[in-house]
Symmetry: C2
Subunit: 207 residues, 2 copies
């Protein structure tokens, strides 16, 4: 059995990143190729799983960026804030399936939430707000997500340059990436792990 390959430390980007970028490019005709499923664990120890939109990389750590409404707890019924839940259990795994090229990436790592009170990451939060459409921005002024629907106002709202108070940037720092290519017989599968020295190991594994 051979030792895993270690990616070159001279490269500034992790070895899996160009592969995901290539998948995004080859699947660009499908708008849903930027949608992926984010799994977390709630305070009862149960999984939660929802679709999120990939909003680009945050360098230099190649974190995945998402946006989220701070009012919606990761599990609405738990009665705690999203920031509290993430601080207690930051672990997450996203599953990203690309239908056109038939490949799946599972990315496990830790989450960090940047909300209006965060001392770190405000420039990135502002940049993410700037990139939202008007229709996307206005939702952060709508009634409480997950609450019983009322006849409250879901209409227009005057938008400001500054992010809405509940607009949050969510960052995922990858620690393990599992890539499965369904094309081919047998399928190809690779596992990338972040080592203590911050280099990435690469292993070819059985599908």
């Amino acid at each position: 059995m051979s030792s895993p390959t270690i990616s070159s430390s001279t490269s500034s980007l992790p070895p899996w990143r160009s592969i995901i970028s290539g998948a995004l490019h080859r699947n660009r005709s499908l708008p849903a190729s930027r949608y992926l499923q984010l799994a977390t664990v709630d305070q009862r120890g149960r999984p939660a799983n929802r679709t999120v939109v990939f909003r680009g990389w945050r360098d230099p750590e190649s974190q995945l960026q998402f946006v989220t409404d701070g009012r919606s707890a990761l599990r609405e019924s738990a009665g705690t804030s999203k920031a509290e839940e993430i601080a207690k259990n930051p672990w997450a795994e996203v599953c990203w399936y690309f239908p056109k090229t038939r490949e799946q990436f599972r990315i496990a790592g830790k989450l960090q939430l940047i909300d209006a009170r965060s001392t770190d990451g405000q420039p990135e939060r502002q940049a993410a707000w700037n990139q939202m459409s008007e229709a996307g921005k206005v939702q952060f002024y709508w009634p409480l997500p997950g609450a019983i629907r009322t006849m409250e106002d879901f209409g227009e709202h005057e938008l400001t340059l500054a992010p809405a108070a509940d607009f949050c940037l969510l960052l995922l720092s990858p620690l393990m990436v599992d890539r499965l290519e369904l094309r081919g017989n047998p399928q190809s599968r690779s596992r990338y792990c972040l080592l203590d020295n911050q280099e990435w190991s690469i292993e070819s594994i059985n599908p």
Copy 2:
């Protein structure tokens, strides 16, 4: 604030099932519409998330059916069997996104694994095996999933009428269904919960 609607107890099927069946029908031109993401929690309390194929309903409980290889632990590195992990924490949440109709179903519930040793569910396990393609069946005779890739045989294998020893049927019993329709402004969102009397409550909630 109005009380949630209670579905009629005379109906044999839960009220969300015909809605999912309708989504499956309207998205049938996309083969990936039968793919969904299954999140579980491993023994370290971390989420795991992977794509699975919907293999139909198991009545009368409207359980979702999947198939899985019993040799691949829910998290390979944990060193325990899939059956052991599921017995310790049966909670799961699937996220099912339909790209054509732009609707998402989050289905939370408990898993049950039917393997070769199960006293219950062998007819359903056999039926699921019968419905597998030859290419799908042969994978259950391949080398250990997730192990370092070797030059071992990934080729043909003589198939028998009986399921492969590691072929498992995985059942999800829904307890909560959250449906989000992205079309429309504002979007529509409904939550269905299984009550103690085995009826389903239906609530319209804020997106």
